[in-house]
């Protein structure tokens, strides 16, 4: 028996929402009054109805949804890509042309579906049928697939042959026009589901889950669980896309000058010019930081804390305010959270002694409820036992000290002192091709003086090319 993903899942897959939407649109296209006007396709002697031109589709989309040309073409392309509409003239070319190229609708059985992924058995039967019809003249990649399948599902190969023959006999019962349509439909389906090598796979079905419990009992217990699950899902917090998109746009606007790909990075992108000045200028221990870096600290508290230099500056400021123990406590908690499991009890103990115990030298101000809970938890220390206290102190710093730091003289002076690196001058011959070469392995600790002497940039500050000091 072939391993069938459908029967193995206790719960069936869901249809992807975008596909459901496309299906709705396809169905509305069938409306006799408001749908697409169809024409007949003439093939020598046979006439097959229900064909439409590419431009028909695009125009219908424009009219129905009041969208632009471009968008209509894009949506039409999606229909063809996902196999809801297939081209009649060049079946292998799955694109929508906004001219009089003919197209036809695909039958629901062959619609793209994440619920019913095509099985190897089906594909094997199709290839066998094609083999019979074309007297062995399969396309190269189809021949390869055929042979691979023959090996893989060899145990059921007799069935493949039997079924292929029977399916052909069954379709012989239809009249000529329908037979042609059937062939086209099936071919279109397999072109979409098993694309030829070199073309993109249209859909990702996700990992195949093989659960141990193959089948569920459809009893009261099962339905109770389903109801509960759906009720919880309904109550889930949802943010309207209009709101989260607003904040997303704001975020992008704020960070765009900082993005090395969108804005470019000064002095130059090390990956392109092999000049690591950018990394050197932004390293931890640099004397004068870059302006962008210091500006970034004002975006959010986490930005400040994540930058080691920022953290140091902040600590200096807090020392002036006599609240440095907060930051030290926070750091110690981070250490506990991310450190070695074996060292947790001793670290937690240290933290208690230094920050939490009644007479501690660097006592942190935590509210009584959290303190009580933490002290209780300290009896059985684990990685996250200090989380509540850490969170409290974090918000304290964020709401109180952080805004004041940003307004402080310390920060403003640093910002004024911060430098904007000079962009390295482009080489004199702008069309000269920069030869790329791979860096020596980072495992090599030594600086291999691999100065290829290529004209990269005329900047005098040039480090050893090819050695990335920090990858």
């Amino acid at each position: 028996m072939t391993i069938n993903t459908l029967s193995q899942d206790g719960v069936q897959r869901q249809q992807m929402p975008c596909l459901t939407k496309m299906e709705r649109m396809i169905i509305s296209m069938q409306d006799p009054d408001m749908g697409i006007k169809l024409r007949n396709q003439r093939l020598l002697i046979t006439v097959i109805p229900h064909a439409m031109t590419g431009i028909d589709i695009v125009e219908w989309l424009i009219k129905k949804f009041s969208i632009s040309d471009e968008e209509a073409l894009h949506i039409g392309q999606l229909f063809v890509k996902y196999g809801y509409i297939y081209p009649l003239k060049e079946p292998r070319n799955l694109i929508l042309k906004a001219d009089d190229s003919p197209y036809r609708f695909q039958t629901p059985y062959y619609w793209m579906s994440t619920r019913w992924p095509a099985s190897e058995l089906d594909y094997a039967i199709y290839l066998a049928k094609k083999n019979i019809r074309k007297q062995g003249e399969l396309i190269e990649y189809e021949k390869e697939c055929y042979n691979a399948l023959h090996k893989r599902i060899n145990h059921t190969w007799d069935f493949v042959v039997m079924q292929a023959r029977e399916q052909l006999r069954a379709s012989k019962q239809r009249r000529k026009a329908d037979r042609i349509v059937l062939e086209c439909q099936e071919q279109a389906y397999w072109l979409v589901t098993r694309p030829p090598p070199g073309t993109l796979d249209n859909i990702d079905y996700g990992p195949e889950r093989r659960t141990m419990n193959t089948r569920v009992q459809l009893n009261a217990e099962f339905y109770k669980k389903e109801i509960e699950h759906n009720r919880i899902s309904l109550a889930r917090n949802r943010v309207k896309s209009s709101i989260c998109l607003e904040s997303y746009v704001k975020y992008c606007e704020q960070y765009q000058p900082h993005d090395p790909i969108m804005q470019g990075c000064l002095p130059s992108n090390p990956w392109i010019t092999d000049d690591i000045m950018f990394w050197n200028m932004n390293s931890e221990a640099v004397a004068v930081p870059t302006k962008l870096r210091v500006e970034c600290w004002s975006f959010s508290f986490m930005e400040l804390l994540n930058d080691p230099m920022g953290r140091k500056e902040f600590l200096t400021y807090l020392e002036k305010e006599f609240s440095a123990e907060n930051l030290c406590f926070w750091q110690a908690c981070e250490d506990v959270r991310h450190g070695e499991t074996s060292k947790i009890p001793e670290k937690v103990d240290e933290v208690y002694k230094q920050f939490l115990s009644p007479g501690a030298s660097r006592w942190v101000n935590i509210d009584s409820k959290t303190m009580e809970k933490t002290l209780e938890g300290l009896k059985h220390p684990h990685r996250f036992v200090l989380d509540d206290a850490q969170m409290h102190i974090y918000f304290l710093m964020k709401k109180d000290s952080y805004p004041r730091y940003l307004k402080s003289e310390l920060y403003k002076n640093l910002l004024a002192r911060a430098i904007v690196p000079q962009e390295t001058k482009k080489s004199v011959f702008p069309f000269m091709r920069r030869q790329r070469h791979s860096s020596p392995s980072p495992a090599l600790a030594t600086q291999t003086g691999e100065d290829d002497g290529k004209a990269k940039n005329s900047n005098s500050v040039k480090s050893n090319s090819g050695t990335a000091s920090r990858l």
Binding site: I26, R42, A51, T156, F159, V161, R165, R174, I180
Partner: protein, 220 residues
């Protein structure tokens, strides 16, 4: 002899499976009609009868400890063919339920997909049922009423397959196909003893490919 009987029954099941798939493909398209729904129902019932018959026969044969090793290997091969057939049937039944629900026949706002197929499927169904002509006797609400029956039948098939998995221990990797790659190109004696006779499969009009020049007639 048990083997020949098995093969005939398997052939019959194979034929009905192929026809059923053919009918399900037409669901929801302009080939769909009340008759098609009835054909689906009849074919399905026939398939189930054959499935049960096959299963009973094969399980008895496989349970028999006194058969020779060769015989046993052959029965295991037939078993694998049987289960593959059931797989296809199961999927097609589930899909026909889904598509049948999505495309009820009597709702005026629900339109069938204009796929270019307009002919009827009665000859296919007749082939499945092994009759000369199909008789249609169902009433108008078959498209909804039948779906309920279909659901129960799917559950039955599911259960049957589960039982089959549990009760019969056949290792699929131990089964070797009799046909080698490309066997379908040879003359078409079917694997079992089919009463349908030898049919030549080669294409009647090999030159007429749809990929050639097609012209569209003007809108009527």
């Amino acid at each position: 002899m048990g083997k020949d009987e098995c093969k005939t029954m398997l052939d019959a099941l194979n034929k009905v499976t192929a026809c059923y798939r053919h009918l399900v493909i037409a669901l929801g398209s302009t080939s769909d009609s009340q008759n098609l729904r009835e054909e689906l129902k009849k074919t399905r019932k026939k398939a189930q009868e054959l499935a049960v018959a096959n299963r009973t026969k094969l399980t008895t044969l496989l349970k028999d400890k006194s058969i020779s090793k060769d015989d046993r290997a052959e029965y295991e091969r037939l078993w694998v063919l049987f289960t593959s057939s059931m797989e296809l049937l199961e999927v097609d039944m589930k899909r026909s339920l889904e598509i049948g629900q999505d495309f009820p026949l009597k709702v005026p706002t629900r339109h069938l997909i204009q796929t270019g197929m307009t002919g009827s499927t009665t000859t296919v169904a007749a082939r499945a049922m092994s009759v000369q002509n199909m008789k249609y006797e169902a009433d108008a609400s078959i498209d909804t009423v039948d779906l309920k029956e279909l659901e129960t039948e799917i559950a039955q098939v599911d259960q049957m397959m589960e039982e089959m998995e549990m009760k019969v221990q056949v290792a699929p990797w131990a089964v070797e196909a009799k046909q080698e790659a490309g066997a379908e190109l040879k003359s078409t004696v079917s694997v079992g003893n089919s009463s349908v006779g030898v049919i030549s499969i080669c294409e009647e009009e090999p030159k007429e490919t749809v990929e050639g020049e097609t012209g569209l007639m003007k809108v009527q």
